[in-house]
């Protein structure tokens, strides 16, 4: 499953859309709450622990959510959502993309995503 690490408290209305995106694509995910951590580092740790090699890190104090992969360098997550990006539709797309990353399917791309440039 995809692992999601969220700095507590992680409100339902933020977590739920991400989970729905994954659910609709049929990829299982598990959420763990942690005490602290930067979103990118948490995402990287989650990806490393996930048997599907994909992880999401959430730190709402910093208004940051990151999507990472086991094989990506720490400082280059696949996507990062910040502050104004944190709308339910964008959150759901992040979940969809996490699932598609696992499946190898083309990703949903929106301009608002802060794609770490390559």
């Amino acid at each position: 499953m995809v692992i999601i690490l969220a700095v507590q408290p992680a409100p339902e209305e933020t977590i739920a859309p991400i989970l729905w995106g994954l659910e609709e694509e049929g990829v299982p995910a598990v959420l763990y709450e942690v005490a602290s951590g930067e979103a990118e580092a948490l995402a990287k740790e989650a990806a490393t622990r996930s048997p599907l090699n994909v992880g999401i890190g959430i730190n709402l104090d910093n208004l940051t959510i990151s999507l990472h992969h086991r094989n990506l360098p720490l400082e280059r997550p696949l996507f990062t959502l910040r502050s104004t990006d944190l709308k339910p539709s964008h959150l759901q797309v992040l979940g969809t993309n996490a699932a598609r990353l696992v499946k190898g399917d083309p990703l949903v791309l929106q301009d608002v995503h802060d794609e770490t440039s390559r």
Binding site: W20, E23, E24, E25, G26, H69, N71, L72, P73, R76, L78, F79, R100, L101, K103, G104, D105, P106, L107, L109, E115, R118
Partner: protein
């Protein structure tokens, strides 16, 4: 020692061959160059390109441009070609009789047959009938799920659902009883209410079995034999889909309608034939054979083809300073193809393949006023410029410098707007011919069949092989080779089929799998170039017998393509002909034939 330059001004490229002539009448080739042709071939706008090409040829030899004592120009035979696509059928769904867009994540599994009803009406539904519930996008999936659960708990038989948003899985996961749910139905408001409907969703990796079988449709909807026959197009349209919906409306149907596409008139020396474009390419090409030798082709005014004919004649008229009325289209080529089109009356934006006919037309006239160009060039470079000889002849002479060749030799010039062939027999006589249908036609076919609406992208797909990006760090080329990257690939490439162009990867939007796109590309090349190569050689071969030609060399832009030369060689194998890309002077490949030939012809003239 005099330096001589041969200059070939083509439609796309201007090529130069530079040589020095010894006192003993021998020639030593020194260098060559290639630049984009400036302006339209045969006009004084070509001069900047010619001068640039001459400069680039002179530089590596260490001589200045003005040291070139003689410049020979080709006597260009202007050939203008163009292409157009006519769609001849379209698919129409009447009375919203079916939904077959095959969304990627349908919900549940199984078959449900009942009457359609909107979610709001569900509370007042009767419990004797079965229901297929219509769920508009305004309703949240949690709400929809609990509504459906309430309904089933109160005794209603809910057997299936049709949802507007992409949330069939989300809804189904929250239901007490699994039902088949088809989602992503854009025009949910058009789904007929209170009609009998069947919803079927197959398991992962599988396809529906009932709604794609006319007899199962007959069973489910109690159809009589006539109605069953009418249901066949629907069943066929749904074959292979993972999910589908069929709605029994009074006269609902899916049908393919013919689109009138105009007529063309083929005028031969002895016969004249008028044929409707919608009869298809095979019929058109067959008629073309019937009226041979062909003198002229005319098209109906106001059609796509008619517009294309006008355009081609207009360009030629301007180029050669002749009245448009005097210009005739002398050859056409028709190819059957498919064009994905939105189905009229579709509920979910479905596409169907319509039949289409691709047409290429060609106009050629005898001579271009090259003298004018030569004169002006001479003034500008202050050196002697002469028009060196007929293009076809120069091309053959240049091609004969390919190691391993001898006459009888034919060259096939695979260009953008036309396919040209010339043949030299053992007595040195030369015949040549121009045919409509070449690189531009291939691009048009690829553009049409993949529904790209992007000619440039189609051009890239034509020229370069494809690959599938399988992970963040590797892709698999179409030939199976896997390529790894040190840096992760950009998200926009992930999971996509990409064109591996020389300027980087180009992601494709299409949902088609890679082998399908490769197939489209290869078929387009075969349909145009293999067919036209055979057509051309049959016309110029002695007694129409290709076997009597021993060697065929390929020149021109499309001769550089990574698969076309092999396809043509395969087609000619049956005739025992040696076919391959030219290798002018053993170093130039399929380039520089005319430029080289100009110098060789000049040498021959000097010797006499």
């Amino acid at each position: 020692m005099p330096y001589v330059a041969g200059v070939d001004i083509g439609n796309n490229t201007t090529e130069v061959a530079l040589a020095e002539l010894t006192d003993s009448g021998e020639v030593r080739f020194l260098s060559s160059s290639l630049v984009r042709t400036t302006g339209i071939k045969g006009t004084v706008q070509n001069i900047p390109g010619v001068i640039e090409a001459m400069k680039r040829a002179a530089a590596p030899v260490g001589i200045a441009r003005h040291q070139i004592s003689l410049t020979l120009l080709n006597e260009a035979t202007p050939v203008i070609g163009d292409v157009a696509m006519e769609t001849i059928t379209e698919t129409v769904i009447t009375e919203s009789a079916m939904i077959g867009h095959n969304p990627s994540t349908p919900g549940g599994q199984g078959l449900g047959v009942g009457f359609t009803i909107t979610l709001n009406e569900l509370d007042t539904a009767c419990s004797e009938k079965s229901w297929v519930v219509i769920i508009p996008g305004a309703v949240d999936f949690t709400e929809a799920a609990s509504w459906l659960n309430r309904a089933t708990s109160s005794g209603l038989r809910v057997v299936g659902a049709i949802a507007q948003k992409d949330d069939a899985v989300l809804i189904n996961n929250r239901l007490h009883h699994i039902i088949p749910i088809v989602d992503e139905v854009k025009h949910i408001d058009r789904v007929p209410v209170n009609m009998q409907a069947a919803v079927e969703v197959a398991g992962p990796g599988r396809a529906i079995e009932k709604l794609s079988n006319p007899y199962d449709l007959a069973t489910l909807f109690q159809l009589d034999p006539d109605e069953t026959r009418r249901a066949v197009p629907i069943a066929r349209a749904l074959a292979g889909a993972r999910s589908a919906v069929v709605i029994r409306t009074p006269r609902g149907d899916i049908e393919e309608r013919r689109i009138p596409a105009g007529r063309i008139t083929l005028i031969g020396q002895n016969r004249k034939v008028e044929i409707a474009v919608e009869e298809g390419a095979e019929a058109i090409m067959h008629s073309l054979g019937d009226v041979a030798p062909l003198l002229e082709v005319q098209a109906e005014v106001g059609t796509n083809v008619g517009g294309m004919f006008d355009h081609v004649c207009q360009v030629m008229a301007e180029l050669t300073d002749q009245p448009v009325a005097g210009i005739r289209v002398q050859d056409i080529m028709a190819v059957d193809t498919f064009k994905p089109q939105q189905i009229q009356g579709s509920l979910a934006g479905e596409y169907a393949l319509g039949n289409a006919v691709g047409l290429a037309a060609m106009v050629s006239t005898h001579k271009l006023p090259m003298q004018r160009l030569a004169g002006q060039l001479q003034e500008e470079i202050k050196a002697t410029v002469a028009v060196g000889g007929v293009e076809a002849e120069m091309a053959i002479r240049g091609a004969l410098t390919t190691p391993g060749t001898t006459s009888p030799l034919a060259i096939l010039d695979l260009g953008g707007g036309s396919t040209d062939a010339s043949l030299i027999n053992s007595s040195g006589e030369i015949r040549s011919i121009h045919l409509a249908g070449a690189g531009d036609m291939v691009t048009l076919l690829i553009d049409t069949e993949l529904g790209l609406e992007d000619r440039e992208l189609a051009e890239q797909i034509k020229r370069y092989p494809l690959a599938k990006v399988e992970s963040l760090f590797h892709l698999r080329h179409e030939n199976g080779t896997v390529q790894f990257f040190r840096e992760p690939l950009e998200p926009r490439f992930f999971g996509r089929v990409v064109v591996v162009s020389e300027n980087g990867l180009i992601p494709l939007e299409t949902r088609e799998p890679l082998p399908k796109i490769v197939g489209v590309r290869q078929e387009a090349k075969r349909k145009v170039f293999v067919q036209n190569s055979l057509r051309a050689l049959q016309r110029i071969a002695p007694s129409g017998n290709i076997r009597l030609i021993s060697f065929v060399v390929l020149v021109g832009g499309s001769a550089l393509d990574f698969e076309i030369p092999q396809m043509i060689a395969d087609a000619f194998m049956a005739f025992g002909v040696v076919t391959g890309r030219a290798n002018v002077r053993g170093v130039e490949g399929p380039r520089n034939a005319v430029a080289t030939g100009l110098i060789l012809a000049h040498l021959r003239r000097q010797a006499h």
